[in-house]
């Protein structure tokens, strides 16, 4: 099975994000970047499918130069080769614009299966896989926790709301958006890291994948979120703060 996994490099979870001078993006200079978490689950699913059924895992990522480090990490975990769509204004493109780039890059590969994470931790559109499927004319399913190959295609376990699940059969080729928690994530081994350096990383310029469509939705401004409640921050050392909080829980909230 030839599997393409779309991954994205995003700011690390603990990164202190600050709005930049344009008011439309964040200051990138001092923050660390990492593989988007649900994409790591998509990669894990792809690697496990390859271990069971053979074939090839190709990593696909759109992003600026720095995204290369996250791509190498995926190669170190066991992906066979990678394609990087070089694009510097990804965060200004809407979900359709980003998916168009990825879909164009996938077309020449004709994979059996395309996996993406559920949602990015930065922009959080949560649409890339579904739109790619539409653009490529493939069936899809999202929020997937488990994938099983059958004689005719795949049976996938989809998460519904409030603790419900559903199995879905679909033919190949197909696109799946993977939910976190279905598998345990692996770490890259030292050997894997060494090998990754020799694996193919093909770069494609965004401009070579066709001209960008005018956006249908524009991110005009980034702001700090509005507080929904006035939070009383309790000062002092751990011990002092704990004592004050217990007083409040006892006399104001009345739960002790």
């Amino acid at each position: 099975m030839k599997i393409i996994v779309a991954i994205k490099q995003v700011p690390e979870r603990d990164a202190q994000v600050r709005i930049d001078g344009s008011g439309k993006w964040i200051q990138e200079a001092d923050i660390q970047f990492a593989m988007n978490e649900s994409d790591a689950y998509a990669l894990e699913e792809a690697l496990q499918l390859k271990e069971k059924h053979g074939g090839e895992v190709v990593v696909l990522s759109a992003g600026p130069e720095r995204a290369g480090t996250t791509i190498r990490e995926a190669l170190a975990k066991g992906a066979d080769r990678a394609i990087q769509v070089e694009v510097d204004d990804l965060n200004q493109r809407d979900a359709l614009g980003a998916a168009q780039l990825l879909a164009a890059a996938v077309k020449q590969e004709s994979p059996d299966l395309i996996l993406t994470g559920l949602q990015s931790d930065d922009l959080g559109y949560g649409q890339t896989g579904v739109i790619m499927a539409e653009l490529l004319g493939l069936p899809h399913a999202s929020l997937i926790l488990h994938v099983e190959k059958t004689d005719t295609g795949l049976t996938v376990k989809r998460e519904l709301e409030e603790g419900w699940f559903q199995n879905i059969d679909l033919p190949l080729p197909a696109v799946l958006m993977i939910q976190s928690g279905g598998n345990k994530l692996r770490y890259a081994t030292l050997m894997g890291i060494k090998k990754a350096k020799t694996k193919e990383l093909r770069k494609v310029a965004a401009a070579d994948l066709g001209h960008a469509n005018a956006p249908a939705a524009v991110l005009e401004k980034i702001t700090l979120p509005q507080k929904q409640k006035s939070t009383q921050i309790i000062p002092g050392s751990a011990k002092e703060a704990a004592a004050t909080l217990v007083e409040k829980l006892k006399f104001e909230v009345r739960v002790i």
Binding site: R13, V17, I26, D94, A95, L96, A99, D121, D122, L123, G124, Y125, Q127, V130, A133, E134, L135, H140, A141, L143, R158, E159, L160, E161, E162, G163, F165, Q166, I168, D169, L170, S180, N213, A216, A217, V218, L219, E220, I222, T223, L224, P225, Q226, Q228, K229, T231, Q232, I233, I234, A238, K239, A241, A242, A243, L245, L249, K250, V253, V255, I256
Partner: protein
């Protein structure tokens, strides 16, 4: 100008609460042109759903009905709505941000060369749509561009659904029959099933101590469990804790877990991503302990302690025990 349409979702034969929240958002949008929104119900037998919708003070109700829409499939719903939108050219189509909507509306929008502005939390003049970025640490303001309908989906809990309960009268009901061929539906869904038997009902718990990523490893969990025991509280968790198998999935609070409304929700080492907040915002009192002063959880908390949970939690457990003696 062909108005605003709200796509209502069937939840076991009734229209779910989050769909009425989407209608509340549509009413905000409609206030500017001074029109009433229309609603859409989709399925194979939508008569009862349409009646429910018609009583809500909307302009009209569209029943998009076809035997092949009996069960939700992305192909079926996308195809049917695509035909309706091409026939009707609406200006805005508003959806609840449900798992079902996430599964097909991005494809529907793309088919029309448009994009879904998803998970909207506020609508202001323009219209400008606000949604969270960076796991809730920042907000983004979006405007629709180009021509064609604007698709938005509305975050659960962001708009009050009870705003227009008083409206009377029954709206006109119209049926739209799409052309769907069985061969167009490529996925075959089975009946939904429950996961492991739910033995913990967090929904009725009065006191909840919830733990998140900040706890770092499973071995540190007893720290939080001791606090829960001292308070007589149920223990709960955010998704990553359950993904790692540190606590059973039935203890998960959030969009994919349980929704809770306790008297006290004490969030330990939880940053407060939207998926978690939607499950616990209804708590009467929210207390957050987190070392990151900018964590989004502090935006919904009544009381906050900015500090290292490994120091604060044991101190709090001791203080609770002392107070109880």
């Amino acid at each position: 100008m062909s108005g605003i349409y709200v796509v209502l979702e069937d939840r076991s034969g009734r229209i779910g609460r989050i769909s009425w929240e989407a209608l509340a958002a549509a009413n905000i949008l409609a206030a500017q042109p001074g029109t009433k929104p229309n609603t859409i119900v989709i399925g194979a037998q939508t008569e009862a759903l349409a009646k429910e919708a018609a009583a809500k003070g909307v302009a009209k109700v569209i029943r998009i009905e076809h035997p092949l829409l009996a069960q939700y499939t992305s192909d079926g719903f996308t195809g049917a709505l695509d035909q309706f939108i091409r026939a009707e050219s609406p200006d805005f189509i508003v959806f609840p941000h449900s798992y079902q909507v996430r599964d097909y509306v991005p494809a529907l929008a793309a088919r029309l060369g448009r994009v879904l502005v998803g998970d909207v939390t506020a609508i202001s003049d323009g219209p400008v749509f606000t949604r969270s970025l960076m796991q809730g640490r920042l907000s983004g303001n979006y405007k629709s561009a180009g021509s064609g309908p604007t698709f938005i989906s509305v975050q659960s809990g962001a708009f009050r659904a009870d705003a227009d309960e008083s409206s009377v009268g029954a709206a006109q009901i119209i049926t739209f029959t799409p052309t769907i061929d069985a061969a167009q539906i490529r996925t075959k869904p089975s009946e939904p099933f429950r996961g492991a038997a739910q033995t913990v009902d967090l929904g009725s718990a009065q006191l909840i101590v919830a733990v998140g990523r900040g706890i770092k490893e499973a071995d540190n969990l007893p720290l939080v469990q001791d606090l829960a025991t001292a308070l007589g509280a149920e223990i709960a968790a955010s998704r990553p804790i359950c993904d790692n198998g540190w606590l059973p999935i039935e203890r998960q609070v959030g969009s994919s877990g349980q929704t809770v409304a306790p008297k006290l929700y004490l969030a330990v080492g939880i940053s407060g991503a939207i998926q978690h907040l939607v499950g616990m915002k209804g708590a009467q009192c929210i207390v957050a302990i987190n070392k990151d002063a900018e964590a989004p959880i502090f935006e919904v908390a009544d009381y906050g302690i900015v500090g290292d949970l490994f120091e604060v939690v044991p101190a709090l457990t001791e203080a609770v025990k002392a107070a109880r003696q």
